[in-house]
């Protein structure tokens, strides 16, 4: 589903590579935690997968597309197969919960009757049934993140990338959010989640890929946050 082959990324005006010789393969339906300190390259990894940046060397394959060779005009089509969730939620402040989620479908030209069916279903699934008319500032952090997840998932993408989705949340809410992502994973969606939340990683025991200074130093199934003894 996602494959990095010897990928190196050097940002302009930077001497140190953000990623260096990364080899990583994530299969369909997997759930992967990407862990590491700030600056280790977690966000860069996700940005490369989303084609927001391009690799300086090596190749990135996502959902069958070779991103280095993908023409610019085909990037939107790639992004329709990838849902993204961010630390800062990125909701539209003037639209309510329903409208925020529906936006993702309207923008892609989905017909009205489809939107009216799928959006409420998705909101139920993330636990926001009954809160369709609330505006983002009327929701808690956890609820806002659920809206963001609903928006990322409403189009039923094959892959969901989460860049520190629990960074602004308390421990209990964080666990709820990751459990929600786990439920989504069980529907068949591949999930890659960048985080430096120890408890979450340790509790869920999923595959853990650890980055340090742009290199993968650990890749183990049912891993924990720190190196296993």
């Amino acid at each position: 589903m996602i494959r990095f082959e010897n990928v190196t990324k050097v940002y302009p005006r930077s001497s140190r590579p953000a990623l260096s010789g990364v080899n990583l393969e994530v299969g369909r339906g997997e759930f992967v935690f990407v862990v590491g300190q700030s600056g280790s390259g977690k966000s860069t990894l996700l940005r490369l997968a989303l084609r927001e940046e391009q690799a300086t060397q090596g190749s990135v394959l996502v959902a069958g597309h070779e991103l280095g060779r993908l023409p610019h005009r085909k990037v939107p089509r790639l992004r329709r197969e990838i849902g993204t969730v961010f630390q800062d939620f990125r909701l539209l402040p003037n639209k309510n919960v329903y409208q925020n989620v529906a936006f993702a479908l309207q923008v892609l030209g989905r017909p009205g009757h489809v939107i009216r069916q799928v959006v409420p279903e998705t909101l139920e699934m993330v636990g926001l049934g009954g809160k369709e008319k609330r505006l983002p500032h009327e929701l808690s952090g956890g609820e806002q993140q659920r809206v963001a997840i609903a928006r990322a998932f409403v189009n039923k993408p094959a892959i969901l990338l989460a860049d520190e989705p629990t960074g602004n949340l308390d421990p209990v809410t964080s666990l709820d959010i990751v459990r929600l992502l786990d439920r989504i994973n069980r529907t068949g969606t591949t999930i890659v989640m960048a985080t430096h939340d120890h408890d979450i990683v340790n509790q869920l025991r999923k595959r853990v890929v650890e980055l340090k200074d742009g290199e993968i130093i650990r890749d183990e199934n049912q891993g924990v946050y720190g190196a296993s003894s």
Partner: protein
């Protein structure tokens, strides 16, 4: 569904950016009005000239039986007299480069076209304008040669030198034209810069929405189109307002005033405004689409 979404995005965009949109309307209106004035001035010059001005230098009008010219003595020109004038003109080559004969019917038709906006047009009948020879010279400065050769000749009612009559108007018209076009060019530049700034500002204030649209995989078209349409709508409104102003100028300045005041010259009127309006609209459309395309390409990378 997508059309409804895009239309609502355009509406929201215009409302959020209303003051900038209004400035685009106003600046487009002023620039198109000035451009229209320049175009109308040129059309006025063409209308003054009529069909023959650029083609010939001297006109030899034949006598008619109603002609008031003393040389005619109330007698229409005869076929022999016409032939002799024609032969004489032939003999004056190479100074005479070309001779065009215009019948009474042709003269009437051309008069109707040139004086289409004049209250006189309805009063003129075929025969009021005599048949004539229109003479093109190889050396336009030597028109006096023709005038002196034919003035008073049998069958000749009058010999007219076009340039003398109309030249005084053309200096004025040329100044108006240059002035209008220079101002129009400046205003068009203002319009272009204003449109670009408006789009940049709109793109910046809507960066959250466009960011999310990019993220969920909206096409370039869906993201850029509302911006282009907002600019186009504002520009078209401006062009429409300019056309209305030009109509008022033509209607109250010409159709209802000058055309009635000065009867011996042909003036433009409201119909000329309708003739230039599609060109102005086309120019505005090209300007708006071109400017917004380039601005979005630079500042709204997908």
């Amino acid at each position: 569904m997508r059309l409804q979404f895009i239309l609502s995005e355009i509406g929201i965009g215009l409302r959020r950016n209303l003051s900038m949109a209004i400035s685009v309307v106003l600046v487009t209106m002023v620039s198109m009005y000035l451009l229209g004035l320049g175009l109308l001035a040129q059309r006025q010059a063409d209308t003054f000239k009529g069909y023959w001005y650029d083609r010939v230098q001297v006109t030899i009008f034949m006598c008619t039986k109603d002609s008031g010219e003393p040389a005619c003595d109330k007698k229409a020109v005869t076929q022999e007299q016409k032939e002799s004038i024609r032969v004489q003109l032939e003999q004056m080559k190479p100074l005479v480069k070309n001779v065009f004969y215009e019948s009474e019917q042709q003269a009437f038709d051309r008069f109707q076209k040139q004086f289409r906006n004049s209250p006189l047009a309805g009063n003129v009948r075929v025969g009021d304008i005599p048949q004539n020879f229109r003479v093109q010279l190889s050396d336009p400065t030597k028109y006096e040669v023709i005038v002196s050769s034919f003035e008073g000749a049998p069958g000749v009612g009058a010999v007219q030198d076009q340039k003398k009559v109309l030249d005084k108007f053309f200096t004025g018209i040329n100044y108006i034209t240059i002035f209008s076009f220079v101002l129009a060019a400046l205003m068009v530049l203002c319009a272009v810069l204003l449109m670009a700034t408006t789009i940049r500002q709109a793109a910046f204030s809507r960066r959250r929405e466009t960011g999310i649209m990019k993220l969920v995989g909206a096409s370039n078209f869906t993201i850029r189109f509302p911006f282009m349409m907002e600019t186009l709508l504002a520009a078209l409104l401006g062009a429409g307002a300019a056309t209305a102003l030009l109509w008022a100028t033509a209607n109250y300045g010409f159709n209802r005033y000058l055309n009635k005041l000065i009867l011996d010259q042909a003036f433009i009127g409201v119909s000329d405004v309708w003739a230039i309006a599609p060109w102005m609209a086309g120019g505005v459309v090209a300007l708006a689409i071109g400017t917004s395309w380039v601005t979005l390409w630079r500042y709204l990378r997908v």
